[in-house]
C-alpha cells in the first residue's frame, strides 16, 4: 500500500516538494514573504518613487518629465535651501544634545529609590504619549504673541516690561521650536535609559563602594560604559526623528519667520504639497536620507565592535 503511494506520481511529487521546502532558506523565505511584500509596498515603493520624482519636474496634477539633476542644481544655488540645511543641523544637534543630557540625568534621578517614584515616572512619560500635533498646538498657544501665558505671568510678577515674541523673531523662533522638541523628546531617553540602568547589576556598585569609588567614578567607570551601547542606539533614533521632524515645526511656525525655522521636512512639504512642485520637494527630502544612513552606519559599526 505505502509502496503504491510512493511510486505513484502524487507520492513522488509530495516527496520532492517536501525536499524542496526543507532546503535551507526556502521555507524561511516563504514564511517571511507576506511581510516582505508589505514592506516593499509601504516602504520601498514610496522611497523609490520619491527618488524618481526628484529627477523630474512633476507638478501636482500634471505628470512631469525627466530633467536629470536640475532640481538638485537649482537647490544648490538657493539661499533658502542652505539656510534650511543649517537650520536642520542646528535643530538636530542642539535638541539631541539637550535631550540626551537631560533625559539621561532624569533617568539616573528616577532610577533612585524614593517615595512616589511610580507616579513621577508616569508623569515623565506624558510629553511622549500626548500626540505631537496636540502638544504642538498647546505650545503654539503658550508662545502666542498676544495670549502667551508665560508672558502674562512674567509681566504680572514684574520680571518683564514688554512681552517676549516667542515665534515672531528668528532667534526666538529657532530656540522655541528646539525647546518644544527637547520637551517632547526627553521621555524617550529617560524611559529607555532607565530600563537600561535597571539591568545593571547593583552589586557592581557595591563592589565599587568597597573599592573606594566616588559617585562620579562609579558613573564614569561602571554606568557609562555599560549603558553606552543602549545610549548609542537611543541617540541614533533620536537623531533620525529630529532630523526628519515635520509636525512640530509646521504647526508652530510653518518654517517662518523669514524661513528661520525651516528644516528639510517642512521645506520639502511646502514646495511639494503647498507649492505643488513635487519634483523639487522630492529633491529636498532626498537630502534627509544620506545623513540618517550614515548615522545608522556609525552606530551599527560601534555596536559590532563592542560585541
Amino acid at each position: 500500500m505505502s509502496q503504491e503511494i510512493a511510486s505513484s506520481g502524487w507520492g513522488r511529487f509530495r516527496a520532492s516538494s517536501a525536499d524542496f521546502l526543507h532546503r535551507k532558506g526556502v521555507m524561511g523565505f516563504l514564511f517571511t514573504l507576506p511581510a516582505d511584500i508589505i514592506l516593499l509596498l509601504l516602504l520601498a515603493y514610496p522611497f523609490v518613487l520619491g527618488i524618481w520624482l526628484s529627477f523630474t519636474n512633476t507638478i501636482i496634477g500634471r505628470s512631469g518629465s525627466f530633467v536629470g539633476l536640475s532640481n538638485y542644481i537649482s537647490l544648490f544655488h538657493s539661499n533658502i535651501f542652505w539656510l534650511t540645511a543649517f537650520n536642520t543641523v542646528f535643530y538636530t544637534c542642539v535638541a539631541v544634545f539637550f535631550k540626551l543630557i537631560l533625559g539621561f540625568g532624569l533617568a539616573i534621578i528616577l532610577n533612585q529609590d524614593f517615595k512616589g517614584k511610580g507616579l513621577i515616572r508616569a508623569i515623565v512619560l506624558l510629553p511622549w504619549i500626548v500626540p505631537t500635533a496636540l502638544s504642538a498646538i498647546a505650545f503654539w498657544w503658550i508662545f502666542d504673541s498676544n495670549f502667551s501665558c508665560i508672558n502674562w505671568l512674567l509681566l504680572k510678577i514684574g520680571l518683564l516690561k514688554t512681552p517676549i515674541d516667542f515665534l515672531g523673531n528668528t532667534i526666538n523662533a529657532r530656540l522655541s521650536v528646539v525647546l518644544v522638541n527637547i520637551w517632547r523628546g526627553i521621555p524617550f531617553f529617560t524611559i529607555g535609559l532607565m530600563a537600561g540602568l535597571q539591568t545593571i547589576n547593583q552589586s557592581l556598585y557595591e563592589a565599587a563602594d568597597i573599592d573606594g569609588a566616588t559617585p562620579w567614578v562609579k558613573f564614569k567607570s561602571i554606568t557609562l560604559p555599560l549603558i553606552m551601547p543602549l545610549l548609542s542606539v537611543i541617540t541614533t533614533f533620536s537623531i533620525i526623528w529630529t532630523f526628519a521632524d515635520f509636525q512640530l515645526i509646521w504647526i508652530l511656525t510653518r518654517g517662518g519667520p523669514d524661513n528661520a525655522t525651516h528644516i528639510f521636512g517642512t521645506l520639502s512639504f511646502q514646495r511639494a504639497i503647498a507649492g505643488g512642485h513635487l519634483g523639487e520637494g522630492a529633491a529636498i527630502s532626498a537630502f534627509i536620507f544620506p545623513v540618517l544612513f550614515i548615522s545608522v552606519l556609525i552606530t551599527s559599526k560601534y555596536l559590532k565592535r563592542e560585541n
Binding site: S203, L204, E206, A207, A208, I210, G212, A213, L226
Partner: protein, 364 residues
C-alpha cells in the same frame, strides 16, 4: 589582621526583623563561618559588617574602632560576592587593579601586585580577558583575586562557591582554606551548606530567623548541639528525632523508651535527665550512631525492619521501621543488609541527644 566585634546588632527592613541581637567577637586571623537556612539573615549580617547596609541597632567594631557609620571603603575590608560582581566591561587585570588605582597606588606596584596575586590563583594567562570569556571557576578566582590583591584587614565571603559545580566546589574549598592558612587574615564566610561550614570554619555560627543559635568549633557543634534546630541542621544525613520518647526510671537506672526501643541512658546524663523521669522528651539519634549489631541482648540493641537501602559508597543508608517510626541509619558498606528483612541495630548510647519538647533545648 583584625578583630571584628558585633554587639547586639540588629537590622529591620520595615516590619521584617532580618537580624536580631547578634553578638559575636571574631578573633584575629580566625576563619568564621555563618551558616543557616536561606533567609536567616547571614547576608544581611555580612553586609552590615561591610558597611553596605545601615544597622538598626547595636554596634560593630573593627579592631576596637566603632564603624557603624563608616563607609565601606574606610573599613579596610574586601568582599567576594555570590554572583562575583566582576565589572563586565573590564579585563581581569583592570578588575583586580580597580581598587588599587582608586587608592592612587603607583602603576608599577599595581602591576606587580596584580601579577603576583594572579600567579597565586593560577589566572595569570587570563589577565587580558573579559569576565564573560572565562568559565565559572575562573571568574570565581578573579573575584577572589580582586579581594586578595587589596590585602584588607578582613575578608567577607557571601556564598562564594554556590555557583560552582560540586566537584569544583570541593576543590575551591580546599584552596580557600590553604589561602587562609597562608595569609591568616580574619575572614567571615557565609554559606547555607553545613558541610562547607564544617570543613572550613575555625568556628561556626549557626543562625535561624535572624538569631544566633550556637557558636562553636565545628565538632563541638556536631557533638553538642544546643537545641533541636542546630542538631537537625548540622550533620548529614539529618539526625533522627523521636518525638514522644519517655524517660523511665528502673532500679536506679534511666532509660529512654519508645515503641520497639528501650535505650539505657549513660550514667553521666543521670543528673540532667532525672527530673524528666516519667515525662516525654524528644530523642535524637544520628544515623551514623546506628550501626549493625550482633547481640540482641546488648545495651542499645534495636530490632528494625529494613524498608529502603541506599548505598552511597563509603556507607549504606538504610531506612528502617522501629515500632511505628521510620529511622535512617548509616551502616558499614560491608553489610549484607537486604530490603524487607529484619536487621539488628546498635545505638551508640553515649551519643544520644535529648531535647525538651517545648523549648527544644538540649537537655544534656
Amino acid at each position: 589582621m583584625a578583630e571584628v566585634a558585633l554587639h547586639h546588632v540588629g537590622k529591620k527592613y520595615g516590619d521584617v526583623q532580618a537580624v536580631e541581637d547578634f553578638t559575636l567577637t571574631i578573633q584575629h586571623g580566625e576563619f568564621m563561618v555563618f551558616v543557616g537556612p536561606s533567609g536567616c539573615g547571614k547576608t544581611t549580617t555580612l553586609r552590615m559588617i561591610a558597611g553596605l547596609e545601615e544597622i538598626t541597632s547595636g554596634e560593630i567594631l573593627i579592631d576596637g574602632r566603632k564603624v557603624n557609620h563608616l563607609p565601606p571603603k574606610d573599613r579596610d575590608i574586601a568582599m567576594v560576592f555570590q554572583n562575583y560582581a566582576l565589572y563586565p566591561h573590564m579585563t581581569v587585570f583592570d578588575n583586580m587593579a580597580f581598587g588599587l588605582k582608586l587608592k592612587k597606588m603607583p602603576r608599577d606596584e599595581i602591576e606587580q601586585r596584580v601579577r603576583q596575586t594572579a600567579g597565586m590563583l593560577g589566572i595569570l594567562d587570563f589577565l587580558k580577558r573579559k569576565p564573560r570569556e572565562l568559565s565559572g571557576g575562573q571568574r570565581q578566582r578573579v573575584a577572589l583575586g580582586r579581594a586578595i590583591v587589596r590585602t584588607p584587614k578582613v575578608y567577607l565571603f557571601d556564598e562564594p562557591l554556590s555557583n560552582l559545580d560540586a566537584k569544583l566546589r570541593v576543590q575551591m574549598r580546599l584552596e580557600l582554606k590553604k589561602l587562609h592558612e597562608k595569609m591568616n587574615t580574619t575572614s567571615i564566610y557565609v554559606t547555607h551548606d553545613q558541610i562547607e561550614a564544617m570543613t572550613m570554619g575555625d568556628r561556626i555560627v549557626v543562625m535561624k530567623d535572624g538569631r544566633i543559635q550556637q557558636v562553636g568549633h565545628p565538632l563541638e557543634i556536631y557533638m553538642h548541639p544546643r537545641n533541636r534546630f542546630v542538631a537537625g541542621f548540622i550533620g548529614s544525613p539529618t539526625m533522627n528525632f523521636i518525638e514522644g520518647a519517655r524517660i523511665e526510671k528502673e532500679n536506679g537506672a534511666l532509660f529512654s523508651v519508645t515503641k520497639g526501643m528501650k535505650l539505657p541512658i549513660p550514667k553521666t546524663h543521670f543528673e540532667a535527665l532525672a527530673p524528666y523521669a516519667g515525662r516525654e522528651i524528644v530523642l535524637g539519634v544520628r544515623p551514623e550512631d546506628l550501626s549493625e549489631g550482633d547481640d540482641p541482648n546488648a545495651p542499645g540493641a534495636v530490632k528494625a525492619y529494613v524498608e529502603v537501602v541506599q548505598p552511597v559508597g563509603n556507607q549504606i543508608y538504610i531506612d528502617v521501621k522501629v515500632g511505628d517510626r521510620n529511622l535512617l541509619a548509616a551502616i558499614s558498606p560491608q553489610s549484607a543488609v537486604k530490603v524487607k528483612e529484619e536487621i539488628l541495630l546498635k545505638a551508640r548510647l553515649e551519643n544520644l541527644h535529648f531535647f525538651d519538647p517545648e523549648s527544644e533545648k538540649a537537655l544534656v
